[in-house]
Amino acid sequence: MAQAIRDPSQLSLAEASRAIAAGALSPVALTEAYLKRIAALDGELHSYLLTLPDTALAAAREAETELKSGRSRGPLHGIPIGLKDIYKTKGIRTTAGSRVYETHMPSEDAASWVRLRDAGAILLGKQETHEFAIGGPDFTLPFPPARNPWNTAHYPAGSSSGSAAAVSAHLCAAAMGSDTGGSIRGPAAYCGIVGLKPTYGRISRCGVFPLSYTLDHCGTLTRTVEDCALMMQALAGYDPNDPASADVPVPDYRAALTPRLDRLRIGVIRHFHERDAVAGFGPANAPSATYVAAFDAACHALETLGATLVDLNLSPLVDFADTNRVIMVSEAYALHEHDFRTRPHIFGRHMFARIGLGAFLSAADYVEAIRQRREICVEVAAALAGVDLLVSANATGPAPRIDAVGTYSTFDRASYTAPYNLTGLPALSVPIGFENGLPLAFQIAGRPFDEAGVLRAGHAFEQATEFHRQRPAISASLPSRR
């Protein structure tokens, strides 16, 4: 610990929290450490659109004063975080990654940011996002796309690109992202960190720019599952200002974490990557041999921890992915139709091309998609009646080069994350290995509002493996060494 505290940015959120509680680490020192790293490394990573050094340090000093006087707000007190720049922050520019809001100063804070701030978290800055959480990586916008800390020539995935890159590179302790088709779990996979898309309705979306009302989820990006549990404790809960918010009791997430998974039944959906990806989306979607081996090894690790694994067969992946796409594109186009008609040039290239397809989907297409959504939800609920959790692939190969990501890549590729947006189930991305020096991941999903069960399995897996302890080379590039 003594060595780690010489560079507190290298601690996990939970480690930093324990050090602060023990009086061994000051929130000011922790905030300064992150700000120094941002100044040294973010010129290459572009993970922040805006940093807030003065207000962050002021908040850190206030936290330190409160803590010294014995007024602790809990585990997040004095912890520096970042927000994807679709979370509104009162009086702080919030762009949604778009020219439409390039100078936008909200008059309100996102409800989730209010919860984190009330829990003592410190805002380091606003993080790069694909335009309106869909259009990226786009070099035609005034905001440079974030890079993957494991190899800056590669894509960090999106749309929560900056948040994932910043967490992975230790430029904040944790971050908030959003996930409509995989925008938290995709970046978590490519950046080698933990990403949670909670149950639909679990975290308030109030004050977060929408992409698709019925698919949007707010969630967390962290370096460990325990860190995720600590963030969730502050974030979860009913918000009457979010029409989709669910009034469901919130358990103690950290208390749910256990080292063993005895008596747990896990359904493994292998056919998504073993059969459906190529059948539905073409041969370019074949998983890499390294990925298949990593996935199998991860499943074996869950068995070693005491879980019983059974193979499940659901509808083909293309049914989940394309139903999600029809709903997303239809809802997003409706949201932006006026700008598409009157000033289409204001959008970046990718946002325009992807959401523009919504102009050609009919009302009947949309209704058929939400009818199919219900059928799929019923099917998955029946499958979950026989198991406690689900496991399925995430991206089935390493991150591509950022210059190889095309305008329609999101339609060409099999989406392994969309099934859990469509069904609204909680889903966690956890690292399971590496290929060519770039991270790989799988997903653990659960029943509605069973984030605790999902986190329990993710934590046990994480503790039994070493993947989360590996760090990108850029994370070791401490400012003092440069």
Binding site: P240, P243, V326, P344, F352, L361, D365, Q372, R374, E375
Partner: protein
């Protein structure tokens, strides 16, 4: 993979949607290229189903 719609059909689609390609012809041509995905998307969601098959609902009565 299907082909994109023809330029003539695309012009009709744009007119129906109230979109003006003269704003940025290059972008609209890229959008035309994306129409190759529409057939698959529509085919995936348009399946024979019982007339009573309801959509997924998220309707909630607002609290007063």
């Amino acid at each position: 993979m299907a082909d994109p719609v023809s330029p003539e059909d695309f012009a009709r689609l744009l007119a129906d949607a109230g979109l003006d390609p003269s704003h940025d012809p290059e972008r609209f041509e890229e959008l035309r290229q994306g129409t190759r995905f529409l057939a698959r998307l529509k085919q995936t969601v348009r399946r024979p189903r019982d007339r009573a098959a309801e959509p997924a609902h998220i309707f909630v009565h607002p609290r007063g």
